[in-house]
Symmetry: C2
DNA sequence: ACAATAAGTCAAAAAAAGATGACTACTAAC
DNA sequence: GTTAGTAGTCATCTTTTTTTGACTTATTGT
């Protein structure tokens, strides 16, 4: 493993940091869906064919931790939790759309 | 799990496809450098601290195969090979710059 | 009490990405 | 013919991501 101490490598392209926030199999799709309406766990699970709870949970957690989604707990009968795009999350949407147009 | 046989998973966000083309530790940086001048293997190796031949070779190969870079062999004394941004590669640059501005 | 829905967690296995070391092919200079 | 420079390849190992199965917590309905 070569446990190196000092700070080595780290490709330092500034776009890299933002790319990492949306990297992953489900994150771009989840962000795209979040534009239309607040997201819920079970509804994502139904919508994203081929996904599973763990994948959704991990993606939502990371998107929340990196500040692209905000989690809102709604204390009601069946217990609802909603995820909203943050300001930064919204800022990302047009960029994702431009990527689509290049492809 | 719900192992459905028909066509499984594949997150079908259109931006995903383009994101995959620039995914990886070195690709965004390489594209960024390609804007300034044609790229050469050994010069990339020197410029990208923390990289190695295999990483550079793999990145260049993938960027070429996906049509973002074009490889040009220059038969001269020490054998030169240059990589140029394609039209699609160029189209990606402003999008990468926008990503930086969000971060 | 028991099952169902919603929203997860934990651990482990499998697959993909990244890192490391040794080796190849061509030309050119000495 | 040995050394040096450029541009790689191949096999292996490690790390990270993704997938899979089993279990948890809370509330509602019967």
């Amino acid at each position: 493993m070569t446990t190196n101490n000092s700070n080595e490598n780290e490709a330092t392209c500034p776009a890299q940091a933002m790319l990492k926030l949306v990297a992953g199999k489900w994150k771009p799709e989840i962000l795209r869906l979040a534009v239309e309406q607040p997201l819920r766990f079970s509804s994502l699970l139904r919508t994203l064919k081929g996904s599973n709870k763990q994948a959704i949970a991990a993606a939502l957690k990371e998107l929340e931790e990196t500040g692209l989604l905000e989690k809102v707990v709604i204390k009601q009968k069946p217990l609802h939790i909603e995820y909203y795009l943050t300001k930064q999350g919204h800022a990302l949407i047009p960029v994702l759309q431009q990527l689509e147009n290049i492809g």
